[in-house]
């Protein structure tokens, strides 16, 4: 409500223009008027959508609503909604052309693990298997009608493609999914053993007998992670990533084993046997945009102050960093920043940080953004834990 009153205060009384029209005709002035209300009006600086600068939109998440997937989630951040489904398929190692080569090199790695820290080489191997074999396949589609301008039958837009890449890249760098969860092992029966009798069902992964033949990987689970943005109102990445995260947390893989007689992988249809993925951490993405008060800042014929001068005159400079921008705000700003953080034992770890498209955001601002993102992490954890 505050938004509409401010706007009507600013429009000249002779021209009775409703705020919605003002917003369309002069979007920049409209948002600026909200963020810098006249001192006399005693209005707080607030965004046109009624949020404070570092306030995120109301977020809700709901997991497991799609029954035909291994895991699924719907995440809604304001009017941006993303649906994510995870489908697991089996990839036989005999279908992987380069498998024998990879196998040799990974065995070499395993040898090293005896000397170096085990967990680290495990990490390396994870990266190798997941990345080299493309075990994670995210795809994002901006469906027709999610926002005006998305026409049916059009090829995937550059935005959809780049978001797909960002998801994949973040899945790889965070090493969210453990390769161990995706492996399907085969433990050959120990024929010399006396207790051969119970080996008929002895493909259980956990039974590892010393001295027996080495167990080997027979297949992998490949996770197809499909994200569909059903409504796009700005900031699609945060919503898409949150939906991927929620869907992976929800994902259950059936127990699978190699059947030596049939030379194939069999899965158990018992729900109780299925196990969840054990994810590494909980990286949460927060995006920001920088709104410049001077609409003509980009092309006004003035000397651009150098970074040092800019720092000194910070107070005079009029720009706002807006968290979780909606579509309207995104259209009015060029400079974007995105921070992905995780928390380990209460300590904030930055997983990814990026900013481009302008020169107003620098270290001091980014430090604040990391703090804001850390708060957002707590909020998102609560939401994701509840869903």
């Amino acid at each position: 409500m505050a938004s509409s009153t401010t706007a009507s205060n600013l429009t000249p009384p002779s021209l009775s223009l409703p705020p919605s029209q003002f917003a369309r005709l002069q979007p920049h002035a409209y948002l600026l008027a909200h963020l810098s209300p006249p001192p006399a009006s005693n209005q707080p600086s607030i965004r046109a959508n009624g949020r404070a600068a570092s306030q995120f939109r109301v977020t809700s998440a709901n997991a497991g609503s799609l029954t035909h997937t291994n895991g699924s989630a719907v995440v809604r951040i304001g009017d941006t909604a993303a649906v994510c489904g995870v489908r697991a398929e089996i990839l036989h190692t005999k279908d992987i052309a380069s498998w024998s080569v990879l196998q040799a090199s990974s065995e070499h790695n395993l040898d090293n693990s005896n000397y170096a820290g085990v967990s680290e080489s495990q990490d390396e191997e994870d990266r190798g298997h997941i990345q080299d074999l493309n075990l994670l396949v995210p795809n994002l589609s901006l469906s027709t009608g999610c926002a005006p301008g998305f026409t049916p039958g059009a090829p995937p837009s550059a935005l959809a493609q780049s978001l797909s890449h960002q998801l994949l890249s973040l899945l790889h760098t965070t090493r969210l999914v453990r390769a161990e969860d995706l492996r399907i092992w085969y433990q050959p029966p120990n024929l010399e053993s006396e207790e051969f009798g119970n080996a008929g069902e002895g493909m259980d992964v956990d039974t590892e007998e010393s001295g027996g033949p080495e167990r080997e990987i027979k297949a992998f689970w490949v996770l197809y992670i499909d994200v569909m943005i059903i409504s796009l109102a700005g900031n699609p990445f945060d919503a898409a990533w949150a939906s991927v995260l929620a869907a992976l947390r929800d994902t259950k893989l059936p127990r699978a084993w190699w059947d030596a007689d049939n030379e194939t992988v069999l899965c158990s249809d018992d729900v109780a046997d299925a196990r969840k993925l054990s994810l590494r951490g909980l990286p949460v993405a927060s995006s920001f945009c920088s709104f410049e008060g001077d609409a003509a800042a980009g092309w006004r014929a003035v000397v651009i102050p150098s970074a040092e001068e800019q720092k000194q005159k910070k107070s005079a400079q009029r720009r706002w960093i807006l968290a979780d921008p909606d579509g309207y705000e995104e259209g009015l700003s060029q400079e974007r920043a995105s921070v992905v953080v995780d928390k380990e034992n209460g300590k904030t770890v930055i997983v990814k940080m990026e900013k481009h498209g302008g020169w107003t955001v620098d270290s001091d601002d980014l430090r604040q953004l990391v703090d804001v993102s850390a708060q957002r992490w707590d909020e998102m954890k609560r939401i994701l834990d509840q869903c």
């Binding site: 014929a301 000397v303 651009i304």
Partner: protein, 271 residues
């Protein structure tokens, strides 16, 4: 004065500006004036928007930036260009000045003495030597060409359709050099703007009757020497090759002379 190369956002040092204050300072391409808000009003500084060699002309009180010669031509009023007719409509010929840009318009009647009856009937692919009349303002503006001097109604400086001959592509920097070289009085002969190629060609080909040349700012050179009768084509190609190689290899004057000799010998035009 040492040569000064500026990069975008570099300021032009005060001591490089011409000190002649009688005329207003004129800025060439690649420079813009910015105001620096400060406590006592605002100062103005000249900054570069392109990379280039700073040159000043004290006589005309101009300062400009010589940028890379390979750059694209941007139409500027009063420039001479060589345009090719793409198609014609009721009132205009639509001409190509630079590749991949919108067509420039040349009025059907903007020729010397043209009327509804006497206007030239140019067909697709024909060439005109024209002057940029206006470039318009703002986005999507169209470039207009003319083949007459609006003040006199005459086709000054060889404006009009170019018949015969052949056109060669050179860099815009080379075209500008050729124009500057031809506008400078040819008294001190040899190398004007570091170009000896034309005067050398002129000397060597005098016996064949000489040649005609028109240079368009848009990086086109039209060469014709129909006087040379049966060897006309050979001479034209030879001149074109001399110009293009001088341009592409950025030859020095003595190399240019060698090149002229070599090419003319190759094509058996001189012994």
């Amino acid at each position: 004065m040492t040569a000064l190369v500026l990069l975008p956002s570099d300021e032009v040092p005060q001591d490089h500006l011409p000190t002649n204050n009688s005329n207003p300072l004129r800025l060439g391409p690649g420079l813009r004036i910015l105001s620096q808000p400060s406590s006592n009003g605002s100062n103005h500084v000249l900054t570069a928007t392109q990379a280039g060699l700073l040159t000043t002309d004290a006589k005309r009180n101009t300062v400009s930036l010589l940028s890379f010669p390979n750059r694209r031509y941007i139409p500027t009023v009063n420039d001479f260009v060589i345009a090719q007719i793409h198609h014609s409509s009721v009132d205009f010929f639509h001409c190509m000045v630079t590749p991949h840009t919108a067509h420039a318009l040349l009025g059907q009647l903007s020729f010397e003495g043209a009327s509804k009856k006497t206007r030239p009937m140019l067909k697709q692919g024909e060439l005109v030597y024209a002057r940029v009349q206006s470039v318009g303002l703002g986005a999507g503006a169209e470039v207009e060409l003319t083949c007459v001097n609006p003040a006199t109604g005459k086709a000054d400086g060889g404006l009009g359709p170019l018949t015969g001959g052949m056109v060669f592509d050179v860099s815009t920097g080379m075209a500008a050099r050729l124009i500057r070289a031809s506008s400078t009085s040819a008294e001190n002969t040899d190398a004007i703007e570091g170009l000896a190629v034309l005067s050398e060609l002129g000397k060597k080909l005098e016996s064949l009757g000489g040649f005609e040349i028109a240079v368009g700012r848009n990086g086109k050179v039209w060469v014709d020497c129909s006087i040379a009768a049966e060897s006309a084509v050979k001479v034209t190609v030879a001149i074109g090759r001399c110009l293009q190689e001088t341009d592409q290899q950025n030859l020095h004057t003595h190399d240019q002379k060698k090149l002229v000799m070599k090419i003319l010998r190759d094509m058996k035009l001189v012994s």
